[in-house]
Point group: C2
Chain length 170, copies 2
Amino acid sequence: MKRSSLADRYCSIARSSAELVDGWTFVILREIFLHNRRFDGLQAQTGMSPRSLTLRLKLLVEEKILEKTAYQPAPKRYEYRLTPKGLDLWPMVVMLKQWGDKWQGPWEGDQPPLGLTHKGHDHELTLEISCKTCNELVDAHSGESYISAPMAAERAAMAKTHEKKIKGIV
Amino acid sequence: MKRSSLADRYCSIARSSAELVDGWTFVILREIFLHNRRFDGLQAQTGMSPRSLTLRLKLLVEEKILEKTAYQPAPKRYEYRLTPKGLDLWPMVVMLKQWGDKWQGPWEGDQPPLGLTHKGHDHELTLEISCKTCNELVDAHSGESYISAPMAAERAAMAKTHEKKIKGIV
């Protein structure tokens, strides 16, 4: 199963999943959101090997999630900053944090490992999810999915291929 | 770099990332949210090999994200349903969809591959993120992170190990 097969699907969830690769991406994003933006610091706090970290950062730059910026002219030294596309991943990172705070503990003193305050306010920041149109709070039971015509066509083709595979035709 | 090293960190983002493994988890979750809950249908629409799909479903059941329920007594046939922990991943799946709708296109007719309506309402469901305490809309610039004492201790230890590694001591 090649990873690219997910990247080629007519589905934004599949393509996004393929692009984010695996959990290391989120740990790198966590570090960048914590302003730990340089290779050495990223290596220390992710614990990745230099080779894995280099490859992953290269990929994230290619995907325009991060950009490499010189912070020192001579000798040239770089740091990694979030692009608008990368900044848009912030809700995902925080939702992952909230899910983990709830389901991956126990945590000492029942305190989340990483706290978040609402900047300029005097309180914690916990994300709440609502409908943009009517402002009602929503959860897993609030949505009804429907599949667009091109995605439906792809699904029908996949079902057909699967059926042939089972019957041993392909 | 063993995956378990992420699962062992004192960080809810790292542990959650390790548990979700990679993009295939989200594609399986997408299918289950689309009510495609049986092995055969999951195999067809994810395109995973029977072996990979079996392993991944087993992991998701072990992690209590999915549960295996018999839908037919004889011969016994199973389907996979979301547990409360799994249902809590819904905002992540929808945020991933919204991020992909925006950044992974173009999509035919500018329509997202997967649409979502607000159940019981006459409109689309687009998630909006706000602060639970003051209801203000928030984005990547709204939060200020702080690190708990046990996570700070782990980070200091990792920085020390990294320094030693660079100096060739370990």
